[in-house]
Amino acid sequence: MKVKIILTLALLGGVVIVGTIYYQFNKPRENVGKARTDFRISVKELVTSFLANESQANEKFLGKILEVDGKVIQLIEEEGSRGILLESSTGTVYCACEQIPEIKIGTMVLVKGKCSGYLMDVVLNDCELIKQNLNED
């Protein structure tokens, strides 16, 4: 009887371990839309902090989930690369996304994405549109 219980437990343990390894190995990409937001910030503030001190801004924002609000100035759809460009008086934020949502250029939107750093613009990856037609301040 005791042997049976131990065997069953060992088998169950084995299944859990193999399952966990298998899940870890094949786990899906993090769902940015459902992830907890680390910072809610405007395009202007975000760009300004990268321009003022890039390494400090990297430390603060790299790999973090941001919700950014700003004005849409361009929808970019090139080979394999899609995104929304948000603009402020200080610079731009490029929000790369799988599908370009139906939004109008010139409107204010709120986009959620994961910060990858700064090139020509601040880059957010795996973006999702959270709100559109925000009231202009």
Binding site: Q24, F25, N26, K27, P28, R29, E30, N58, L62, G63, I76, E78, E79, G80, S81, Y94, A96, K114, S116, G117, Y118, L119, M120, V123, N125
Partner: protein, 182 residues
């Protein structure tokens, strides 16, 4: 008032000409392949930035390491956290120029190969790089493609013994940019 208007036009024209000399692509593609006994790993970055100056052949390219996409999320995590440490070194860059640069070649349609020479920085380590670049000049596009190999050890990237058979010592890099012609 009139001088102001003239001055404005002069500055405007000057900025136009200097701007026209510089080609920019912000959605270049960089792919890397690692061929190892246990598995092959491939990742692609479609947000590479490259500026090429058509007046002197200078090239500057950069990309964010966090923009590389892998087939498996776990590989991407390991790549960013353990190998290239993209939290500490978010960018990789190349700065260099085209050898024997001749601006007229870029004005007519055609295909040709040039050598680009410069320095590449990955994981905070800078190494010299020389690579053959094939250019194609079309009616409204100039495309540039190159491939080269990099040794992981040259960039102080440490591979744990446990996965030494999963990751190649030498990584194959393919780069492709497309510029709209001025």
């Amino acid at each position: 008032m009139k001088t102001k208007v003239v001055l404005f036009h002069v500055i405007y024209l000057m900025s136009m000409t200097s701007f026209a000399q510089r080609l920019i692509d912000r959605s270049g593609e960089v792919t890397f392949f690692s061929e190892a006994p246990v598995e092959n790993i491939e990742a692609v970055n479609k947000q590479a930035l490259c500026a090429m100056d058509l007046s002197n052949g200078n090239i500057a390219a950069s990309m964010l390491m966090k923009s590389f996409r892998f087939k498996k999320a776990l590989m991407e995590e390991h790549f960013n956290e353990n190998y290239v440490e993209s939290g500490k070194f978010p960018k990789s860059t190349f700065k260099g120029s085209i050898e024997n640069f001749d601006a007229t070649e870029f004005q007519e349609k055609g295909a040709f190969t040039k050598t680009a020479k410069g320095e590449i920085t990955i994981h905070g380590i800078t190494q010299p790089l020389e690579t053959e670049v094939s250019f194609r000049v079309d009616a409204d596009l100039i495309s540039a493609e190159t491939k080269f190999m990099l040794l992981i050890a040259d960039f102080d990237i440490k591979i744990p013994l446990a996965v030494v058979n999963n990751i190649a010592e030498e990584i194959k890099i393919n780069v492709s940019f497309q510029f709209s012609r001025p």
